[in-house]
């Protein structure tokens, strides 16, 4: 369960303060595929940074299974991010000179898992997302957009995270491939009991979600 209480983030822009996230409160249960919809400038990226423990809020709390991640020390935050969160980016953001398999193995390496174990888990995850055989040995440059996003999802699942944050996961994909990716995320939310929070401007994703929120001018409204 993710519990967000009065969450705010303010940035300085010249002489003015900009409230990118404005006193957001909501609860997201485990294993749910959730969509946060908003137009450009609505505060989606800021909210994602806060949920992903990449940035600290100005006010409020984010409780994940009872722990307020906003109050964690830098060291604990790194550990939390490594063990509890998986990221899926719009531009896939795979490491270009590593193979698909090595990209998925990377978070496991950061966790200190033995090499042999890493390989087995990474192969399994890639199979789960439909990347098999020789494709696992290819570098991102030799994979299609859809394939890269699948690898990105497998990487996000590597350390069995509590939740996956997907930032415009279908933004760079054609509609058919986009649908496949959304179905994959939905399926994984169910089978792995991982909460998937997709932040997007794409209404079609929202239609597939079990919970939908709309973000406008930093304020969150449940649909």
């Amino acid at each position: 369960m993710i519990k967000i209480q009065d969450l705010s983030k303010t940035f300085k822009s010249g002489e003015h303060d900009v409230r990118a996230v404005n006193q957001i409160s909501c609860e997201i249960p485990d294993g749910v595929f959730c969509a946060i919809v908003g137009k450009s400038g609505s505060g989606k990226s800021t909210l994602l940074s806060l949920l992903g423990a990449l940035d600290r809020p100005s006010n409020g709390s984010i409780e994940v299974d009872g722990t307020n991640i906003a109050k964690l020390s830098d060291t604990k935050l790194i550990k939390y991010r490594r063990d509890s969160i998986g990221f899926v980016f719009q531009n896939y953001n795979l490491i270009p000179n590593l193979t698909a398999l090595e990209n998925v193995m990377l978070p496991l390496e950061f966790k200190g898992i033995a090499v042999s174990q890493r390989k087995i888990r990474a192969e399994k995850l890639l199979e789960q997302v439909g990347i098999t055989g020789i494709k696992q040995e290819r570098k991102p440059g030799k994979l299609s957009g859809g394939e890269q996003q699948r690898v990105s999802i497998a990487r996000a699942l590597a350390n069995k995270p509590k939740f996956i944050l997907a930032d415009e996961p279908t933004g760079n994909l054609d509609s058919n491939t986009g649908k496949i990716i959304i179905e994959l995320l939905k399926k994984l939310a169910k089978t792995a009991n991982t909460t998937v929070i997709a932040v997007t401007h794409d209404e079609s994703i929202a239609k597939n979600a079990q919970m939908t929120f709309t973000l406008k001018d930093g304020k969150l409204v449940k649909n």
């Binding site: 719009q90 000179n97 090595e102 966790k111």
Partner: protein, 399 residues
């Protein structure tokens, strides 16, 4: 493996950076080997000059370049001075007569005859028995025509034990070849004093006529002499006494003063040689710094992604520091290899002239490799720390 792949991503830039280190380490290896050779020669020479008080005829240029001689009478009187232990007469002259029709310039020690009284008990206080490659040094029981030769002469003239070596028209039998010392003795001919005296007389028409007329005795023909002091005696005091009593006839070189002079000259030479090598190395170091800064700038997003998926700042710092260290190591290994090759080739060419310039020591080479790795690490540490502190959100730039 990822580090090597990262280096391979920008092949030309990696090549240029490594090339910079190669140049620096090549210079360091070559100059360092030159300094080692110089130091070894100086050490050998220092041991010799600090192990005896050296007496030479007044007006001579010092060691071995005799323009006068030391009469045996004078040496006998010196031996009776309080504190003096032994006096050993020596004759030194070039193996080959100077050929003014075909002059040559020697880079190192020219082959020299070193005639000593094998029957005397004189021994330099720092004397160490010379290691022999084959045979033995001439001793009390050796005939006057028996000689030992340094390794450079043996190689140049293709001589072995029992071979005949013609020196200044006289035949000598080689009874020993001295093991390589990388110092002066590599180009010496060690013989009994009398044949050396005779050849010195032959080489000097004035001495020749005096000898022929009986006005010059053979035993009075000495280029220089070594004087040792009794245990417990002060070599400076003994030198001063010899100078006081015989200063009109002889030049006295005190071991302490000579040692200090040599140390000063050696320190200056080492500073010049190594200073120039370090300069070349610093250029290489900045080359790595530049490459790492550019590399991190290009890989900012990648660093952000790694941090987002769980890499700690220290892990990022270690990765980039290691990458810089490996660049240093690879450049160092290549530079060192080329340096050793160049030094070896030059040494082989110069060996026959007794003018080897470089001393290649495994310990030094290991130090060079370690040093190049450390230089890489030092060059990479600040860019690596900067990389580790990158803000994830800014680095990834999508969030």
């Amino acid at each position: 493996m990822e580090i090597f792949r990262n280096m391979w991503r920008r092949k030309f830039r990696t090549f240029l950076t490594i090339f910079g280190i190669v140049i620096g380490i090549f210079a360091f290896t070559v100059m360092g080997s030159m300094a080692l050779k110089l130091n070894k020669m100086i050490d050998g020479g220092k041991k010799y000059v600090t192990g005896q008080i050296t007496i030479s005829p007044k007006g001579s240029s010092g060691y071995g370049a005799a323009t006068g001689t030391l009469p045996i009478d004078t040496l006998n009187k010196i031996s009776k001075i309080d504190g003096v232990d032994q006096v050993g007469a020596l004759v030194s002259l070039p193996v080959e007569e100077p050929n003014l029709d075909n002059p040559s310039i020697n880079m190192g020690e020219p082959p020299s005859i070193y005639g000593a009284d094998n029957k005397s008990d004189f021994k330099n206080k720092n004397w160490e028995t010379m290691a022999m490659k084959s045979g033995q040094m001439p001793d009390k029981n050796s005939a006057d025509n028996e000689i030992a030769i340094g390794i450079n002469i043996a190689t140049d003239k293709k001589l072995g034990v029992n071979d005949t070596y013609k020196i200044r028209g006289r035949d000598f039998k080689v009874v020993g070849i001295v093991e390589k010392t990388m110092t002066g003795p590599d180009s010496y001919v060690f013989m009994a004093i009398n044949p050396a005296r005779e050849m010195l007389i032959e080489s000097n028409p004035f001495m020749k006529s005096l000898y022929a007329s009986g006005k010059l005795k053979l035993e009075d023909v000495n280029s220089m002499a070594g004087v040792t002091w009794k245990d417990g005696a002060d070599s400076q005091k003994v030198s001063a006494t010899i100078k006081d009593q015989f200063g009109k006839d002889v030049t006295v070189m005190s071991p302490v003063k000579m040692g200090e002079l040599i140390d000063k000259a050696s320190a200056t030479m080492n500073a010049i040689i190594l200073g120039s090598a370090l300069l070349a190395l610093i250029v290489g170091l900045f080359s790595i710094v530049n490459t790492m800064v550019m590399s991190i700038s290009e890989r900012t997003k990648e660093i952000g992604i790694k941090k987002a998926i769980g890499a700690s700042p220290s892990l990022i710092a270690v990765e980039y520091t290691l990458e810089a260290g490996i660049i240093g190591l690879v450049g160092g290994a290549i530079g060192m290899g080329l340096g050793v090759l160049a030094a070896d080739i030059i040494n082989n060419k110069m060996a026959s002239k007794g003018a080897e310039i470089f001393l290649i020591q495994p310990n030094f080479l290991i130090l060079v490799i370690m040093f190049s790795f450390v230089v890489g690490i030092i060059a990479g540490v600040i860019p690596a720390i900067r990389a580790s502190k990158l803000n994830v959100v800014d680095a990834v730039r999508e969030l």
